[in-house]
């Protein structure tokens, strides 16, 4: 079989030439491994910015949570066409609601991104990366985590006032375990436990963050001492700790020349001294990831928005005549059902959703303090009236006079009304009602089921989480 040998040797020769292994080692060109990301200070800072970036998402602070908080209450007449959003509006939400699921997921993604910084910054081997800088990055990430959990606990948990926080909250995930393959299925923490974690994160972060940065968009757009004090003031107010509310508010209002009450209403999206913390948006941020944004939801079609969220008759009546907060911050246009309506003009970009998301600003802190003063003293508090009158004057209205108010409750009602008119469409209204024991709506079929403690004033735990065996008891009523 000489010929056979010839065939075989030829075949053997043929294959001897075919190995080519080195050409299979191909690396991605647009991404980095976690190790490279956290190999120096620049990478660590980029990861911190990545965590801020995650909060820009439509479902986190990019607009949807603001809109939901407004239309579940009485400031917005929601005419949007999305069935999942209309379910929430009609208080018939089911647990498989995909908008709710997206919000849940994107909040936890922001938390994961923040956790990645908290977990990995201590291990970065970079001689030029100082201890102070490391502490600052970690502190900023803790602020992001606290802010995100705080929005979650207001959306998925009953207000602290219901059973003193001893109600189901959201699960606390404090490690970026998923990045190293550690998948967790934690149980729900109570509302009180989540509040405690938020306060812990913020207190730990306060000494380590910067007071301000050289650029205005960083001073107003990153975690600073002002931002942490302001958030602590709100957390304390929501919890009912009046002394701390006032203490943290004073850190902003007294002797701090970084912050000042604006003299008119041109401060939106401007990074002025009115802003304490605003999530910075550009035309390339949220517009690319979300199917909407602040301008997208609130503006009429002619301005590039969807016309989904015109002002309600209730808030138009509350403004009355001569209120600059209406006249200088509203426009008319047609809504999504082609009805001519009044829209807020606080957010101006309906096409690329580039408006900064105002999270913490001086007006709110001033209102926090005024409310806490009345509640803590249970009197017609003169200091509170003085504070609120700064807002009344700015709005072109006559200042309050102490004699107008029969008792502390009457003043409190007036302060809450000013709070509504000042902060309308910025996502405060729902919680301002619920934490004060008030129903979200006083008229219509849904009025009677919109009280604090009613099942559908908060959102359901997404069905998917329960399907996947996470030990998450569903909110009552879902």
């Amino acid at each position: 079989m000489k010929i056979f040998a010839k065939y075989m040797s030829l075949i053997a020769l043929f294959f001897a030439f075919s190995a080519c292994d080195s050409e299979l080692a191909i690396e991605p060109e647009q991404s980095l491994s976690p190790d490279v990301t956290f190999s120096n200070e620049a990478g660590a800072q980029a990861a911190l910015f990545g965590a801020y970036s995650a909060t820009q998402d439509l479902d986190v602070f990019g607009g949807l949570s603001f809109v939901i908080n407004e239309y579940m209450a009485d400031n917005v007449r929601f005419v949007g066409s999305f069935p999942t959003l209309q379910e929430i509006n009609n208080f018939v939400t089911i647990a498989s609601n995909t908008s709710v699921q997206a919000m849940w997921q994107d909040h936890y993604y922001a938390i994961l991104s923040a956790n990645a910084v908290i977990d990995n910054v201590p291990g970065v081997v970079d001689a030029g990366f100082t201890e102070a800088e490391r502490k600052q990055f970690i502190a900023e990430a803790k602020f992001i985590r606290a802010l995100t959990y705080f929005q979650m606990i207001t959306l998925w948990g009953q207000p602290y006032q219901v059973n003193n926080g001893n109600t189901p909250g959201v699960p606390l995930v404090l490690k970026a375990g998923a990045l190293v393959g550690e998948i967790v299925k934690p149980a729900r923490n109570t509302v009180a436990e989540v509040y405690a974690q938020i306060e812990k994160d913020l207190s730990e972060a306060l000494p380590d963050v910067a007071n301000n940065f050289s650029a205005a968009d960083q001073t107003r757009g990153r975690a600073t001492k002002g931002a942490i004090n302001a958030l602590l003031s709100r957390v304390s107010l929501y919890k009912g700790d009046w002394a701390k509310t006032i203490q943290y508010a004073d850190a902003i209002l007294v002797g701090n020349n970084l912050y000042a009450l604006a003299s008119d209403y041109t401060f939106f999206d401007a990074n002025t001294s009115e802003d304490i913390f605003a999530i910075q948006m550009t035309s390339t941020d949220n517009s690319r990831t979300g199917s909407g944004g602040l301008g997208g939801y609130y503006l009429p079609a002619a301005r590039g928005g969807r016309g989904d969220a015109p002002m309600s008759a209730s808030i138009l009546a509350a403004y009355g005549t001569g209120d600059k907060r209406l006249s200088s911050l509203s426009i008319t246009g047609t809504d999504a059902t082609t009805v001519s309506s009044t829209f807020t003009n606080k957010f101006k970009d309906g096409t690329t959703n580039a408006d900064n998301a105002p999270i913490l600003r001086v007006t709110e802190i001033l209102l926090n303090k005024a409310e806490a003063l009345v509640k803590s003293t249970n009197t017609v508090n003169a200091d509170a009236i003085t504070l609120v009158n700064r807002l009344r004057t700015r709005a072109g209205l006559t200042p309050f006079d102490a004699a107008q108010f029969a008792d502390a409750n009457a003043l409190l009602t007036a302060i809450l009304n000013e709070r509504r008119l000042e902060l309308a469409f910025e996502g405060h209204r729902r919680m301002d009602l619920l934490r004060n024991g008030l129903p979200l709506r006083t008229s219509g079929a849904t009025g009677p089921i919109s009280k604090p403690g009613d099942p559908k004033v908060i959102l359901p735990i997404p069905t998917r989480e329960i399907d996947l065996g996470a030990a998450l008891p569903q909110n009552t009523g879902y």
Partner: protein, 984 residues
């Protein structure tokens, strides 16, 4: 280049061998003694061959060591003649009605149907010569048992979901591998998704008239040699070659019109106003209305021109073709122009050396429209838009209509264009090395260049928007094989062994800008606000070795084995290589002595195969942990990084093993042939996106976990019912039965009944059930007593809400069987063809019904929504205006799940052929005039009338976990064409 040097080594070896030769002359005729011109004669196992001349004669030098000639001619049975001592031959060819002795294309070679042990399906030019085709995928629909092809939608250029013997993966890609003239095609989703699943048809760029044959490789015996890419089946496309001896020119033209098969019935303005007043007590402002659904429709036009020239001499053969297709759809704004050119040539350089090339180039200009879940899609928005909304103001200018955009303005003022330029080419060199042994070297490319341009006018997107998207995917590969074919006494030995290297670099650029001072400024650089600047590159490479050997003893017993070892850049260094293999056996029972007495039996063959394949379609870097950068990660001007992928260093190949048992029978002088194959295809180590609780920050992690099985039977029956000199009637019937079952999903979550599953809220893969199981709350109906809508809970009780805890298994999206039935009649120059295809037993979820049939929705309503419950209309389809159930009526339930079975008259055609000789002219050889209808008749299951459109849909394209779902998916076109075909 190591490979190149190898080729030279082989060349040297080859030329060193010298053999004695002998000369043979002969003549090839049909059974009536008529000379056959251009019949091909090949010395078996060599590249040496020739073609008969005008007298049917040939002359050939036979190298020593070779003693078998292969003679083939289209329409006749191929023959092998073993040479004795004679030097003059007369070869009489028998007509071949059913292709028993046809040579069919298989992976890296060809085989005779008679001795084939692989399970394949073929479509040849002969099958399709009278069918004007718009795209090659049409060749697969209802033509091959076990191949399910579902057009994604009726949008021009849209892709199709193609499944060979069911879905064999969950999260890895599901389409088969397409190989054209030896070049595996690039098949990423290049185009931007515009509401429906991303993806245009990867075969769009091929002129269907250039196709000589399509082979679907189905069992492991056929696909294992494609290794890590064979699990979904492989489709081999071979283009036409020139034939020596005759130079022919063929011109074809057809023209026609198209309409949608079905259209939704929506309310007009008056009906809408009446309904809103009556049901919701809302007085709709304004007067008059506008018929949006009609305004976005038109009569589609199609014109197609094809010219090809082919021929050559015994040294060189050529095939040159060009075609131009100009098509407009039944929807406004959707047009497609396609230009194709092809040059195939072969040249015999010497007795031992041949080479050739197959070069195809194409350009497609596609005016796109969005579809499905997209408010900028004409065929979605026209149904959602309120009929009281006007597209124009009093002055006749377009107006902004809000969230549901003014699609008339969009199409009139905007641009949405996709231009594809593509070149695929393969050159080959064949060299005889030893008797029966030749070496072949192939070098191929597939260059895809796609440019997408969009522009939305100020009236649609305030400020205006423009974008430009460039995708380049450049592949090159080389395949080098040794091919052996020799007869040693009673033993016939065939083998192919080779190696290949293949790599592709994908480069993607996207720019977008908004805010223009004028609609007349069309491009991104005129925008005031640049909103996107992206450029990405991604590369992969595959390095492979493979062998297939085939032994045949006494033409009765056949054993075949194949092995391929693939190394892929897509897997981590620990699992980079995978080895795939198959063995097959066949017994040609009819060749046994004891069967020889059965005169009616022409062939009885039993086959069996078993083997395994892989699937590498999981993206380019699935195993790495990644932090992504760019504008989605930046913050306030600072560069950012954020987690985008969880690391899976242990990720490895998904493997699909397949058992195939077949029987093949031909009887009654080959007038009836039947092929039946049973298969059991089992995928293990599934590449599975294990869903994670979202509180981990990621929705899923890819792991190798779980098993899935596809079992089924493919039946193909060809009959020649009547055959006389003037009249012939042929029938093909094929049917594929399929049962898909998920066997295990170890890490997946459990539903309330304890079953493990992955997937979404409506459709999921459930252990013990299909991968595409629908999981919903069953809808019962409207209670005639009180007008409440009622659903059924798991315990059988009646409920008035759509509680997700009450979801049940209610059907699946995979048909029980699909198939086709075609009849061809030829009489005295007339040809008549009727072709049906059918699908049975699948469910389809129509997501659009949650909008059109939402009694309190904010959009327009289906006309039948007016059939709501009142005291005087108790047998109603919709809840009473006073019922609380109206608020939840539109939440997904089986109310929106329909039976997807259908039978469709896919094609009917009538033609008449006039031969030049009949008119005693030599001006032309023959002329064929034809008329044809496509999709003229469709029978849908109950429940579609007035609610749904076309049951042939796949809104997410190829996504394995989302089949049989629709969201206003545009229906198929109903088309009537007439044409003319002249051969000179």
């Amino acid at each position: 280049m190591k490979k190149l040097s190898l080729v030279f080594v082989l060349l040297l070896l080859g030329s060193a061998a010298l053999w004695a030769q002998k000369n043979i002359t002969g003549k090839v005729t049909d059974s009536n003694g008529e000379a056959l011109i251009g019949a091909s004669i090949l010395v078996k196992g060599t590249v040496k061959g020739t073609i008969t001349d005008i007298e049917g004669s040939f002359s050939l030098a036979i190298p020593e060591g070779s003693n078998v000639l292969q003679i083939s001619y289209t329409g006749f049975k191929a023959q092998e003649v073993t040479l004795g001592t004679e030097t003059t031959l007369t070869i009489i060819m028998e007509t071949d009605a059913i292709g028993l002795d046809e040579t069919v294309v298989v992976a890296y070679g060809t085989q005779s149907n008679r001795f084939r042990v692989q399970s394949i399906g073929t479509v040849t030019a002969e099958n399709i010569k009278n069918v004007p085709l718009l795209g090659p995928q049409q060749l697969l629909q209802g033509q091959v048992a076990g191949v399910q092809m579902t057009n994604m939608s009726g949008v021009l250029g849209s892709a199709a979901a193609i499944r060979v013997r069911g879905p064999s993966s969950i999260n890895a890609g599901g389409n088969p591998l397409f190989v054209i003239d030896g070049v595996p095609l690039n098949d990423r989703d290049y185009s931007a998704a515009q509401g429906a699943g991303a993806g245009l048809n990867p075969l769009n760029d091929i002129n269907p008239n250039d196709i000589a044959s399509m082979t679907v490789l189905k069992d492991a015996g056929a696909t294992a040699i494609y290794g890590s890419r064979g699990a979904n089946g492989v489709i081999l496309i071979t283009t036409k070659k020139g034939k020596a001896g005759t130079n022919t020119v063929n011109f074809d033209y057809f023209t026609g019109t198209s309409e949608p098969t079905f259209v939704l019935e929506m309310m007009n303005a008056q009906q809408y106003r009446d309904y809103r007043k009556a049901y919701a007590n809302v007085t709709v402002p304004g007067e008059g209305g506008f018929d949006w659904p009609s305004a976005v429709r038109q009569t589609g036009r199609i014109n197609n021109y094809t010219l090809n020239l082919s021929g050559g001499n015994d040294k060189t053969q050529y095939y040159l073709s060009g075609s131009f297709l100009n098509q407009s759809n039944y929807a406004i704004g959707n047009d497609l122009d396609r230009m194709n050119g092809r040059l195939n040539f072969n040249h015999t350089f010497s007795d031992k050396f041949r080479f050739g090339a197959n070069i195809g180039i194409s350009r497609i200009v596609n005016d796109r429209i969005g579809s499905d879940n997209n408010t900028f899609a004409p065929l979605t928005s026209a149904f959602l838009q309120l009929p009281t909304v006007q597209p124009y103001d009093a002055a006749g200018n377009y107006v902004n209509t809000g969230f549901i955009t003014n699609v008339l303005a969009l199409e009139a003022l905007g641009t949405n264009q996709l231009v594809t330029n593509r070149t695929y080419a393969n050159t080959y060199f064949k060299l005889d090395v030893l008797p029966g042994l030749f070496v072949q070297s192939d070098w191929g490319i597939d260059l895809v260049d796609i440019q997408e341009t969009t522009r939305q006018a100020n009236v649609n997107t305030p400020g205006g928007l423009a974008s430009n998207r460039l995708s380049d995917d450049n592949k090159w590969l080389t395949t080098n094989t040794l091919n052996l074919e020799r007869q040693f006494g009673d033993l016939a030995l065939g083998a192919v062994a080779g190696f290949s290297f293949e790599t592709a670099l994908y480069d993607f650029t996207y720019v977008e800008g908004r805010n223009f001072s004028s609609d007349a400024l069309r491009n991104v650089s005129s925008a005031a606000t640049p909103t996107s600047t992206q450029n990405n590159r991604s590369q992969w490479a595959l390095n492979s070795q493979f062998v297939r050997t085939n032994f045949r003893y006494k033409d009765r017993y056949i054993v075949e084995g194949s092995v391929r070892r693939d190394g892929s850049s897509r897997f981590g260094s620990e699992n980079r290589y995978g080895t795939f293999w198959a063995v097959s056996g066949g017994w040609v029972v009819s060749e046994e002595q004891f069967m020889k007495g059965l005169g009616f039996l022409n062939q009885l063959k039993l086959t069996a195969s078993y083997g395994l394949n892989g699937n590498d379609r999981i993206g380019d870097f699935p195993s790495l942990g990644l932090f992504g950068s760019g504008v989605l990660s930046d913050y306030s001007g600072g560069a950012g990084l954020r987690p985008t992928q969880i690391a899976n260093p242990d990720l490895k190949w998904e493997t699909t093993t397949q058992l195939d048992l077949g029987i093949s029978i031909a009887i009654l002088n080959n007038r009836v042939s039947l092929d039946v194959n049973y298969y059991n295809k089992k995928t293990s180590d599934l590449l599975l996106d294990i869903p994670l609780p979202l509180l981990n920050g990621f929705a899923s992690i890819t792991r190798n976990a779980g098993e899935m099985e596809n079992r089924g039977v493919d039946i193909n029956l060809n009959t020649v019912n009547i055959k006389t000199k003037k009249f012939e009637w042929k029938t093909n019937f094929n049917i594929g039965f399929l049962e898909n079952e998920v066997l295990s999903l170890p890490d997946a979550s459990k539903d309330l009944e304890g079953r493990q599953f992955v997937g979404g809220t409506l459709q999921r893969a459930i252990v013990g059930h299909s991968i595409n199981t629908f999981f919903m709350v069953p809808y019962k109906g409207i209670n005639p007593d009180n007008g409440n809508a009622e659903w059924i809970a798991r315990d059988g009780s009646i409920i008035n809400t759509v509680n997700p805890n009450e979801r049940q298994i209610v059907g699946d999206a995979i048909p029980d069987f699909t198939g086709g039935f075609s009849n061809t009649f030829n009489y005295n120059g007339f040809d008549f063809n009727v072709f049906f295809n059918f699908t049975y037993g699948n469910s389809i979820y129509l997501g659009d019904l949650t909008f059109t049939e939402n009694p309190i929705g904010g959009f327009n309503y289906a006309r039948r929504v007016a059939d709501y419950w009142t005291e005087s209309n108790r047998d109603a389809a919709f809840p009473a205006a006073t019922s609380a159930t109206r608020n939840v009526f539109s939440q997904a339930s089986t109310l929106h799940l329909l039976d997807g079975s259908f039978i469709r008259l896919r094609n009917i055609s009538l033609g008449y052929t006039l031969k030049g000789s009949q008119l005693k002219t030599e001006a032309f050889q023959n002329v064929r005039l034809y008329v044809m209808g496509q999709n003229l008749w469709t029978l849908r299951a109950k429940g579609w009338e007035g609610r749904g459109q076309d049951p042939e849909i796949a809104d997410a394209g190829n996504a394995n976990l989302r089949q049989g779902q629709s969201f206003f998916t545009p229906p198929q076109a109903k088309m009537i064409t007439g044409g003319l075909n002249i051969t000179f």
